[in-house]
């Protein structure tokens, strides 16, 4: 890089502004299509998860005489799905907010997401407790063999534990995001 460029800021600015490829309407269209495709896949995966939960609940309630276990799993699957949909809502892009305020808003949103995830974890523990109690009650009073009762309880518990594991993965991701946002905010504020 020559002497002139290093010393003359205006030349440097011209050099900087010369570097850019054009973006066409077709590029934006392809980007939106790609985004929609990704979101469809995510939605399908989430629907499959909820569907599995509801199917397990139906199996427990209809094919086995464990109505309460089925109700617990069904409620858990539907409430979890609602929480997931609510947390996935994107912030609307705003041109009225400066960078530091945007970082603050993003940190506030991470706090809100952490709150939803805490609610999800609490719900998981309540559901697990209800499953254990229902299974124990069935073992004491039901006429079916204990192995069928244990399998039914295990299926219900696996549904809840799978959601709990996913919750913990999301908590880890949220913590990483939070650290990065705090890092940026700390270095940007005057």
């Amino acid at each position: 890089m020559n002497e002139k460029i290093a010393s003359d800021w205006n030349d440097l600015a011209k050099l900087w502004q010369a570097e850019a490829a054009a973006v066409s309407v077709d590029d934006i269209d392809a980007h939106l299509r790609r985004h929609r495709r990704q979101m469809r896949l995510v939605t399908l995966a989430e629907l499959a998860g909820v569907g599995l939960g509801v199917a397990a609940a139906g199996w427990l309630a209809i094919f086995l005489p464990y109505r309460w276990l089925g109700v617990v799993v069904a409620i858990f699957a539907l409430v979890s799905a609602t929480v997931v949909v609510r947390t996935r809502r994107e912030l609307a892009p705003s041109g009225s907010v400066d960078l530091l305020q945007s970082l603050k808003d993003s940190l506030d949103r991470e706090d809100w997401i952490a709150e939803q995830l805490r609610f999800g974890r609490a719900l998981s523990f309540v559901a697990l407790f209800a499953i254990v109690m229902a299974t124990a009650s069935q073992l004491r009073h039901a006429s079916l063999t204990s192995s069928v009762t244990l399998i039914a309880g295990a299926v219900a518990a696996v549904c809840v534990l799978a959601a709990l594991v996913w919750n913990l993965v999301l908590v880890r991701r949220a913590n990483t995001r939070r650290k990065r946002l705090e890092y940026l905010k700390d270095r940007l504020k005057p």
């Binding site: 570097e19 934006i28 945007s102 970082l103 993003s106 940007l188 005057p190």
Partner: protein, 172 residues
């Protein structure tokens, strides 16, 4: 008819945004993301965000300040969500040697790309100001975009200029 009209309006506003601001979006994305593919995708995401936010623009600031704010908001989201992004490394203010070597810069090709590579090595607080100064923003516009005081812009701007010049000299 109404739908067709609104689609036509949307297309024309998108075309205007692309014509006037796609270069700015591309450069802002490239200065925060070294992977060209991801940078291109980020620039497109910025432009989509600008397009969606455009109806809310009330001329309370200049168009490019509005675009730069939205761009920064998207970049913040990108940085916080990048899955495979390595841990952010902050340079010390005394021009650490972890910047690209002369060989790396030579491989990178033309002067614009060298400048971009050097800008990426600046500590984040100075990089933000340097990028907007290079874009031709006034100190008041930079303060408005970043949310810092004009004094802080002046101090960081001077320091960023010095660091950039020094880095370019070192790697000459």
């Amino acid at each position: 008819m109404t739908i067709l009209l609104s689609m036509a309006e949307a297309d024309s506003s998108l075309e205007k945004i692309l014509r006037d601001h796609s270069a700015l979006a591309q450069r802002l994305a490239s200065s925060h993301e070294s992977n060209p593919e991801v940078a291109r995708d980020l620039a497109q995401e910025i432009l989509v965000a600008v397009w969606r936010a455009w109806p809310a623009f009330r001329h309370q600031c200049s168009e490019r300040t509005y675009v730069a704010r939205i761009a920064h908001n998207r970049i913040v989201t990108h940085i916080s969500r990048a899955v495979r992004q390595p841990a952010l490394i902050e340079l010390s203010e005394d021009l650490a040697a972890s910047a690209p070597t002369p060989e790396e810069l030579a491989i990178q090709g033309d002067e614009s790309r060298r400048l971009l590579a050097v800008v990426r090595t600046l500590p984040i607080a100075y990089r933000e100001v340097a990028i907007l100064l290079l874009e031709g923003f006034s100190p008041a516009e930079i303060a408005d975009t970043l949310g810092i005081s004009p004094n802080a812009v002046a101090i960081r701007g001077t320091r960023a200029r010095d660091m950039l010049r020094a880095l370019l000299e070192v790697r000459r």
